[in-house]
Every structure is written in structure tokens, then in C-alpha cells.
């Protein structure tokens, strides 16, 4: 999970690393956009070899929920 948060945070340029916690609602982040969403999807594909569609990703709001979704597909 710690590693996942690091990868997640790495997709952002202006958001401070301390803002990324498992309970963080990433959709509330100022830097969140369709571009960062695609960056996260690409990251999960590259780092975990799991393809998640944007529709599925909608179910997740916090980093933890997204991680759970990822794990359910691994």
C-alpha cells in the first residue's frame, strides 16, 4: 500500500506528497483531472499489469478504495 501511494503521488506535479494518504479522497484534490485520472490508470497498467477502465475507477474515491479495486484484479 505504501508503494502504491508513492506511485499514485508520483502522477502529480504540484500536490504535496504529505497530502496522499490511504484515506485521501483523490477526487477532491485540486490537481485531479481527466489527465491525472488517465495517468493513474496507465500507472496501474504499467506497475501492476492490471487494466482498469475509467468506469470501474469511478467506484473508488479514496486511494485505499482504488488499491482494493486494483488488488481484486491482480
Amino acid at each position: 500500500m505504501e508503494q502504491f501511494i508513492k506511485y499514485f503521488a508520483n502522477q502529480f506535479d504540484d500536490t504535496d506528497i504529505t497530502e496522499f494518504k490511504s484515506e485521501t479522497n483523490f477526487r477532491d484534490l485540486e490537481e485531479w483531472s481527466s489527465l491525472t485520472a488517465l495517468a493513474i490508470l496507465n500507472m496501474m497498467e504499467k506497475k501492476y499489469n492490471v487494466t482498469i477502465k475509467a468506469d470501474e475507477m469511478k467506484k473508488a474515491n479514496t486511494i485505499q478504495e482504488l488499491f482494493n479495486l486494483l488488488q481484486s484484479k491482480m
Binding site: 488517465l38 487494466t51 475509467a54 468506469d55 475507477m57
Partner: protein
Amino acid sequence: MIMNNPFSLNNKTILVTGASSGIGRSIAITCSQMGAKVIITGRNEKRLNQTYIDLEGSGHEKVIADLTNFSQLKDMVEQLPKLDGVVGNAGIVKSLITQASEPKDVDDIFRINTFAPIYLIQFLLQTKKLNKNASIVFISSISGVYCGAIGGSLYGSTKAAIDGFSKALALELAPRGIRVNTINPGMVDTGIFDNTSLSKEQFYEDMKNYPLKRYGKPEDVTYATIYLLSDAAEWVTGTSLLIDGGYTLI
């Protein structure tokens, strides 16, 4: 009164790559309906057979081939009859932001979208398979040529490369009356996007950006292809035909 239809493809033999689904399937079937003898290629045997069954008339051929295997591509070309038309349609879409792209991604998408059609034409010319006055049509895109899209840097560059290729090729083949054109569609609903990471909601949102209020249908691209393959387009070469429901107007 019997009128000679300038859009007819009677007595023409036309190769359509990537004919097992989507735009390629639509083009192949309509070419057969317009009187052409069609040779279709695809990777998926089952789906290619379905297209083959749906072709009208007789004398058609199907070839299961992976065009990214260039020696296989060369073998396939050697088996072909003389052609009056080539539709370079086979291609893939990948939604990938630039910094996430790995060498394999770059290689994969360029192999199928750019290198395979270039080698296809090379081999066709080397084996003298193109008849005089033949027509070559590449299915390109608005992406990379008329506009860009987030996650589309690789896809767009493969298509821009094809547009560049076709312009010089058009000049080289003009002495033999062979014409080379591209069709540059906006988003066409073919199921190919089921494999992308975009959501349905994003698609509906995106659809609002099209002044004509919908995505393209395969037929929109097919009818333009028929035109460019036919003698009606006898004086048209080196063009990139924009078909996008007005998307790039705004």
C-alpha cells in the same frame, strides 16, 4: 435509362486490411456490394470468416495474417493477384500519456499503424501488384493530423506519419495514374474503444464536442473510401479527407 455509376467498383480487385471488425469490415462488405472482388485480411480467424460470409458476390478471398510480422506480410503480398485498390485500415488505439509510454508501447503501435502499411505498399510495388490507375486509401485519423488528444501522442504520431507517407507516395506513383489518399475520421463508434480506459460518461461528454451531435459510424468512413477507390475520384490524389462531424471546426 441505364446510367453508368461513377462510384461503381465493378471489375476492380481491392485489398482491405483489418477487415475482421469495425471500419474495415464495413468497407469490405460495401466494396463487394459495389461490385468489387475483395481480398480481406485480419488476425482473428473467426471474425474474419464472418466478414467473408457477409461479402456479396463471388470470387472474394480471405487471408489470416499478422501484418506486423513483416516476413509473413511479404509472403502474403506475393500470393496476391493484381490490385486496383488497397485500403490500409488495420490499426490499434492506445490511450497512454507520454510519460507512461514504454519502448514496447511505442514499438507496438508504430508496427501496426505505421510500419505495416508502409511495408505493405513497398512489397506491393516491388512485386508489381498494383495495376495502373489503382487507388490506395489509408484510414488515418484527425488525431495527430488535425488535432491532438490527451493520451493520444503515440496514436496521433503513427497517423501523422501515414499522412506524410501518403503525400510523397502520391507523387511517386502519379506517373502510373495510381492515386494515394488518406481519410481522417473523428471518433468512430466501432467497439475499438471498449479497450481504452475512457469511461462511457467521458464518451458522452466528448460527443457534445461534435457539431453534428454524434460520433461517426463505420459507414461514414466507408462511403468516403468507396469514393476514393472509384473512378469518380480519378483526379484526387495526396489529399487528407477530413470526416469528423465538424469536430475540428470548434
